[in-house]
């Protein structure tokens, strides 16, 4: 029962990581951009959400409904103003640009919100749970997992079955050929980043409810997103989801072996995947 509980908690943890990983997988898949500001954007959105909750008295679901469009707008602006200038075959300029932006964002947040650790009140939902025999399943982690699954499925369906999805895939496969048949890559890229950062609105709301956020927290969230994407296979949507699950379950099992070992266990699985199957578990060989 000890281990079944571990796996259940691991799957719930995986849902959290999947929300972080999804946007990163999309951006990498379409533009080959590794967005280093990913974690800082989660923190930025969370702090905006907490301020909104305090000033306008919004509840957690209203905060979520506001943060997703704010995130989408931020993402669109980020791509139009900055990333479209550095995107290209060489992955280095975009890496350096987002790295610099990450530092600037952290310091800007420190100026605006100070170093205080803050959280978003969920009105009790973050403490609620459902008892399944001897196993307690937290209501908030369950909502996070359901959201992550629906978002992954939805994004995958958009990629497969819509005109927009086709243009995304076309721009991803060969940007010049896509441009020749009428796809404007800059618009497609801006839409992809808008979706990726919009999804972070979910991650931000849930992170602020389940724990706390402070301006310097971003990189600690980034690492799990990054590992989940690598484990699943760079750029694959369901791969990122599966990678997040593998990471969550390895951590939860590790925690049960020893509380200090959990996070290391996740890193070890990540390294093992890099060594044995560097293209990721769900990626076909290129």
């Amino acid at each position: 029962m000890h281990w079944i509980d571990g796996i259940v908690q691991g799957v719930l943890l995986g849902g959290l990581y999947a929300q972080y990983a999804l946007g990163m997988a999309l951006m990498f898949g379409v533009m080959k951009i590794v967005n280093v500001t990913h974690g800082d954007l989660v923190v930025l959105l969370a702090l905006i959400g907490i301020s909104l909750a305090n000033v306008a008295g919004l509840g957690p679901w209203a905060v979520l409904a506001t943060l997703v469009p704010i995130g989408a707008a931020l993402g669109w602006l980020l791509q139009r103003a900055l990333l479209n200038r550095v995107v290209g075959d060489d992955p280095l300029p975009s890496l350096i640009a987002t790295f610099g932006l990450s530092i600037a964002l952290q310091n800007a947040m420190l100026v605006i919100w100070s170093a205080d650790t803050r959280s978003l009140s969920g009105g009790g939902i973050q403490q609620a749970s459902i008892a399944l025999g001897p196993i307690f399943v937290g209501v908030l982690p369950l909502i996070v997992l359901i959201c992550a699954t629906v978002l992954t499925g939805g994004l995958d369906a958009v990629m497969r079955y819509t005109r927009f999805g086709r243009s995304l895939r076309a721009a991803s496969a060969d940007v010049e050929a896509a441009a020749m048949v009428g796809v404007n890559p800059r618009n497609v890229y801006a839409a992809a980043t808008a979706i990726a950062v919009g999804i972070l609105g979910f991650a931000a709301t849930f992170q602020a409810m389940r724990s706390t956020v402070a301006p310097a927290d971003g990189p600690f969230q980034l690492i799990y997103a990054f590992e989940a994407v690598i484990i699943g296979g760079l750029g694959s949507i369901w791969g990122a989801f599966a990678g997040a699950m593998i990471l969550g379950i390895s951590q939860a099992i590790g925690f049960r072996i020893s509380p200090g070992f959990g996070i290391l266990a996740g890193h070890l699985v990540f390294l093992a995947v890099l060594a044995i199957r560097p293209q990721g578990i769900f990626q076909r060989k290129a």
Partner: protein, 429 residues
């Protein structure tokens, strides 16, 4: 000053020294007939960086002290002008050492006050010891100031520190738990870092006095800071049937832990941790679950002592802070004030405030009552240390602010009565 020759100044310290001289030259000269000279005190505080919460009361207090003294000090040797030089240590040990050396060698201060936190005090105190300047510090457990700098083998010549010790903090935790009716099973929560390993040490950390007082302890292991899943530790505490959780955590980990305790149906009667519960912002991050959390107390407005400089009591000092900043008082405020009480008292008794050695001798002879309690370097556990009172406290719903800290236990220092009795956490009753 012959020692100055062996010191090679860096480009930065020269530039800073030049800046300071330019500032000194351009300042309006105030003619004061009776002044026998200018006493300079260097003050280093973590005003920015991750330790800024500890330093935020320092700047405010310096302004209060300046107002109260009016730039003059009456000493045993006559009246002197008093110049306070404030430097930001930026929460960085290297920076703290640099500004300390600058204050000592370029500004030629007569006393150095590295205000708070080990990252600021230890490097600055090392400089003071090296160059022979009296140095007074506070707001860090004294073992962390004395032992890493080799104070166990040989007392220091120049550096003095007043604060409580780790052992007293641990005994406060035990005192808090003794005041509750429990099954005496304690689950221990420690992070895998320097603080966690000190507090979690089975020889001199929290487990040792806890077991000596007849509690059973359960330590599942050290967790990594910023862990997202505490369910394995919680399930271990549950099967141990722990009524109490004790240890040291930071705000982010405590919030995750407490939320997951609630999810997992684990409702201990007391959660007593150091660090996370020090500042009001930390308790606010916990939301409703913050009510009833307990920890060690350095100082609160309920302390009955008066300031030897301004005559204010603790409540008045806290009110002045709240009126000026619009923010709730924090525990370092009392110590920000007390360090000036001790420094000014020593300078007043000094036979020559312009002589570092005379100031050191006066500092060593300190025996006084401050806002935070008695300070006396003659009675401490170490020749350079005076221990200060520590109490057990519990956060309750406040009237003026969302949460207020009340003193609920005085077993370690029965200087005054607790404000109220400790109560179990609301979710356990």
């Amino acid at each position: 000053m012959s020692k100055q020759k062996i010191w090679t100044p860096s480009r930065r310290t020269i530039l800073q020294g030049m800046g300071a001289s330019v500032a000194a030259l351009s300042a309006p000269s105030i003619v004061r007939a009776q002044s026998a000279g200018t006493v300079k005190v260097g003050f280093i505080t973590p005003a920015t960086g991750p330790l800024a919460l500890f330093g935020e009361t320092d700047g405010f207090t310096v302004d209060q002290i300046r107002d109260a003294l009016g730039g003059r000090i009456e000493t045993a040797a006559g009246t002197y002008d008093l110049e306070i030089l404030v430097r930001d240590g930026q929460s960085d040990p290297n920076r703290a050492a640099e500004v300390a050396a600058d204050l000592i060698l370029n500004d030629e201060v007569h006393m150095l006050l590295p205000a708070s936190t080990t990252d600021i005090i230890n490097p600055a105190a090392d400089q003071a010891e090296l160059f022979g300047v009296p140095c007074l510090s506070t707001a860090a457990p004294w073992q962390a100031i004395v032992f890493p700098r080799g104070g166990a083998e040989q007392p220091f010549q120049w550096t003095y520190h007043f604060f409580w010790g780790l052992d007293e903090a641990l005994n406060t935790f035990v005192g808090l738990w003794n005041s509750l009716e429990t099954n005496r099973n304690v689950g221990m929560l420690f992070p895998q870092n320097a603080d966690g390993e000190t507090w979690g040490n089975t020889d001199y950390g929290l487990p040792s006095p806890t077991q000596a007082a007849g509690f059973q302890t359960n330590m599942p292991g050290f967790f990594q800071p910023r862990t997202n899943d505490f369910s394995s530790i919680i399930s271990s505490f549950k099967s141990f049937n722990a009524d109490i959780v004790g240890g040291i955590t930071y705000v982010d980990d405590l919030t995750t832990f407490v939320n997951q305790c609630a999810q997992q149906g684990f409702h201990p009667k007391a959660i007593t941790v150091a660090a996370a519960l020090l500042f009001p912002s930390g308790i606010e991050a916990l939301g409703d679950l913050g009510v009833g959390m307990s920890s060690e107390v350095w100082w609160t407005p309920a302390f009955p002592f008066q300031s030897s400089i301004t005559g204010q009591n603790s409540r008045a000092v806290a009110d002045a802070w709240e009126a000026e900043t619009g923010r709730q008082w924090t525990q370092p405020l009392g110590y920000s004030h007390a360090i000036w009480e001790v420094a000014i008292d020593a300078l007043k008794r000094s036979t020559n405030p312009l002589d570092r050695e005379a100031n050191r001798d006066a500092l060593r002879a300190t025996s006084m009552q401050t806002l935070i309690g008695p300070v006396d370097f003659g009675t401490g556990p170490h020749p350079n240390v005076s221990t200060t009172p520590i109490f057990g406290g519990q956060w309750v719903r406040g009237e003026r602010w969302p949460f207020e800290l009340k003193i609920v236990d005085n077993t370690v220092n029965p200087l005054f009565e607790p404000e109220q009795a400790m109560v179990p956490l609301p979710w356990s009753v």
